[in-house]
């Protein structure tokens, strides 16, 4: 494993090194996957990243991460997107690791972080519930302390990678009397604990990437409570900023624009002024999304903290991408109803997968309606 001081390297040299590695090492057939890939499909790639010392770019070096600053972290993500590097089941790396490093105790870090980094522990996130979606703080899954164990009852849903996961980090209610945000704790548990049932959910693409997880008297050791009891909400919320800027990257929309152009050319639509005007509007929207992303990236690069206005980036990126996939479907004409790769004069193009993929992007990570509520309250200062 390499431990290098990336801070010493200038940004462009770093970009080229990362790009070269992805180009040479990432398996060609996994580039730009139409949906999340499973651990079985991505395990070899993950092991390669791990051997390179690049499995956890944002973690500090003392825990085996690359210790990248904001600027280099953005470059790392941008180069992943540029090459179409697929996500692995990375909840432990992206979400749990930073949370433990900030809020966990030494024993927890020693027990959890190395095994998570090596890929021996695969994590899923237990936040949403059937009756706690946008109103996440209304979650009802309950944990009761019994000796040196918590006993958990309830159910979690939209749990990505639940079928691959060896472990789950979970938000549970530990104080029913408190205000709803103030009675929530953050626990970890093993997925092979008795009482856990995983029911995969098939999505609109026809694939099972998320699941509902039922917890029936599931026992987990009390030492796996992170932070103090009833502080789970604050800890989970503290880590949202960076997620919103990476959802807000213009790369997906740029790729969508290229696909739209391909389809439109095959369909002879570039001579149709009505189509071309809508296409041009989207080109400008993608360009201006890029300029807006640049503003927020600049803040991260300077080491600044993102404010609540970053919510606009998520709205822009996801809704622009949706409109691109919608116009692509329309441009495809009759072929817009065909599943899988469709033959356009010898060129195979998948029309429906991007359209489907764009749907949940305005729902997950705080729906776009919730993002608008945040902007209204915290940026425009409109009354509640």
């Amino acid at each position: 494993m390499q431990t290098r001081d990336w801070d010493q390297m200038d940004d462009e040299a770093f970009r080229l090194e990362v790009r070269k590695f992805f180009q040479q090492q990432f398996p060609e057939h996994l580039r730009y996957p139409p949906h999340h890939l499973s651990w079985a499909q991505t395990k070899d790639w993950y092991k390669k990243l791990y051997a390179q010392g690049w499995a956890a770019p944002a973690w500090p070096k003392e825990w085996g991460g690359m210790g990248l600053n904001g600027s280099k972290m953005l470059i790392f993500i941008e180069e992943q997107e540029r090459h179409g590097v697929a996500r692995t089941p990375d909840m432990g790396i992206i979400l749990l690791g930073p949370l433990l490093i900030r809020f966990g105790n030494e024993e927890q870090k020693k027990e959890i972080l190395p095994s998570t980094l090596s890929g021996d522990f695969i994590w899923c996130q237990g936040y949403s519930e059937p009756n706690a979606g946008s109103d996440l703080a209304g979650l009802k899954t309950e944990a009761v302390l019994d000796g040196d164990e918590y006993v958990i009852n309830g159910s979690k849903i939209w749990t990505s990678y639940a079928m691959d996961a060896t472990h789950m980090f979970i938000l549970v209610r530990t104080d029913k009397a408190a205000k709803k945000q103030e009675g929530i704790s953050f626990l970890m548990l093993r997925m092979d604990t008795p009482g856990i049932t995983v029911r995969p959910i098939k999505n609109l693409l026809g694939v099972e990437v998320f699941a509902q997880v039922f917890l029936d008297n599931v026992r987990t050791p009390a030492r796996w409570l992170v932070g103090k009891p009833n502080q789970g909400w604050t800890m989970a919320k503290a880590l949202l900023g960076f997620e919103r800027i990476s959802i807000g990257s213009p790369k997906l929309a740029q790729a969508g624009l290229e696909k739209l152009e391909q389809v439109a050319r095959q369909q002879g639509l570039m001579k149709d002024p009505a189509f071309v005007d809508r296409y041009n509007q989207l080109r400008l929207d993608v360009a201006d999304l890029g300029s807006t992303y640049g503003r927020f990236a600049e803040i991260v690069k300077r080491g600044g903290t993102l404010g609540p206005d970053v919510s606009m980036l998520k709205i822009l990126a996801t809704e622009t991408y949706q409109r691109l996939t919608e116009l692509t479907l329309e441009a495809a004409g009759d072929a817009g109803g065909l599943a899988g790769k469709v033959d356009f004069n010898g060129m195979p193009i998948d029309i429906l997968s991007p359209f489907y993929m764009a749907r949940p992007s305005t729902i997950y990570g705080g729906s776009n309606e919730i993002q608008r509520n945040i902007l209204s309250k915290n940026v425009l200062n409109l009354p509640g």
Partner: protein, 373 residues
Amino acid sequence: MSQEDTNQMLRDAVGGFAARDTSIARVRALRETDPGFDRAVWKKIADAGWTGILVPEKFGGAGLSLPEMAAVLEEFAKTLSPEPLNAVSSLAALTLSGGDNEALQARLLPQIAAGDLIAAVAWQESESGIDPAAIETTAKEAAGGYALSGSKRFAVPFGADAYLVSAKGQGGVIVACVDKSAKGLTVDSELRADGTRVARLKLDNVQVAKADIVASAGAGARALGQAIDQTTILAGAELLGVMSRALEITLDYMRTRVQFDRPIGSFQALQHRAVDLFIQKELSFSVLRDAHIHLAQDADALALWASRVKSRCSEAGMRIGRESIQIHGGIGFTDECDIGLYLKRAMVLSAWLGNGAVHRRRYAALAPALEAA
């Protein structure tokens, strides 16, 4: 001093002007008058130095560049003042300094900077759109100069002291400086949505001496093209100012107007609408900011950025103007409510120098193919 500090200083200075030298009552009083602005206020604007921001130092200006002028114009536009700061101190001044007659520059630019000369560029005709070369007005070589014949529209402002007129000469477009009292020149006005006026010119064999040629056939098209594109970006800054203030006023109204025993700003339908307007304003800010960053490094991309900026800012300005009326309800449709003044200025600025749709098409024609992006 950093550019950010300079810009903040300039913004503060415009804030002082707004508090002292202009008001919405003044703006209302000047509507539909002749010429539609106040020369005494123009002199104050000149004394503050804003008419000379883009004029080179050797000609009595400050020799600054687009970001500084944009900062001033954005704040100035918030006041809705009808004085033609962008048209004269950007478009006319840049056309002059982009030309190839240094003696004329030395004569006119100091007067523009000092506020003593109000010049309007007459580059458009009824059918010409925003292509400065697509014109019918002719310049025939005559004794010691040119004779101009044709007609011009949309020159800002009406009531200028001199018009910088484009015409087709042998070998290309020339720009000639024509005094308002020149023989053979007729100047009429057309009223704009916001109560200001644009000039409509008829030129019947107007004699112009060589000494008054701003740009010869070799330099005219380029001088005009550059000046128009830079002014177009600055019009985007003006639109940003207008839409920002319109949105502030609308948000204030949402916080205070009570219906159903609650401020209407507490209703989610209106909140989400306001957020979408805010996002349009932010996109306008983003693209302007990026234009300044990129043009500092690559001036060749000027036309592309001008179209990106104007397309976004025109559309956003119009949308915020229109929806602000809706959010105000019935009062928003009355002349006494100020919000309508902002919509009307947005309409004028959107249409000026090419509207959003025109620049969307121009952007598409200029933008590199996607594969290269």
